[in-house]
Amino acid sequence: MDEAKAAFEGRVSRLANYLSRAYKYNKPSILFAMYLSEFLRSDVENSLESALADQGLEVVSVDTANFKDLPAFFAAKNSDNTVFFVYNLDKGFPDVLQYLNFKREVLVEHHVKAVFWVREVELARISLDAPDFFAFRNRVVVFM
């Protein structure tokens, strides 16, 4: 196995482990998966979804172009084994950031497990415009 593949698999496995531990201990998990290209994201997404399915976790995808009030969406759709994959955050700017920042406690109260798929520029914007939500993050995992 070459070094790049090992690093890729190690990071996917780390993400899966954070989420499965959150599931096991009934805790929230707010994760950011930062990626460089859509091709890479697609690979990570497929590997992660498969790893989560093995552990009984079910992925629910949400596109912020359609849902701005993500905390309300999470609260309505969440169940113990749900993991939300959140896409296109930039399409929901700035509203989506305001909802996340003001209603961030909803994610903790409902033990939401979510992976926000972001590019570097989106991550910087989140830290700037939704700093309290960003401070709630558990981890940022980088796929470059």
Binding site: M34, E120, L128, P131, R139, V140, V142
Partner: protein
Amino acid sequence: MRTFVYKRMKEELIEPEALDLAIKMSGGVFREGARIMQIAADGAIEKERTCISKEDVERAEREIRSDFKRILKSDDYNTLNEIRKSNDIRGIEKIEHLLHNLSVLEYENEEKWYDIHPTLEELLKK
């Protein structure tokens, strides 16, 4: 901060020098302390250890520093350096976002003073 940690975990789950470093790196901010402990605990679990070591806390320190590197702009480094040297601010408009993202921490004794997040020391020394 030590009491805060021991209220949430057994003493034997972390080496004393690891806890000392975690407290130093938290800058006295409870949320940051919790984040460092969480990352360090994840590191220990990944290595199948039953106790958090200094190495785990150092990894947490590096990870938090990396998060800062992704969100700080080039101008921010000058501001952070100024604050690191003077423990004071020159214009709130320059540091409002830095206070929000916790790269600058505000303390209060007789009067307010400021410092950079402890994990950034290594970055600004270079």
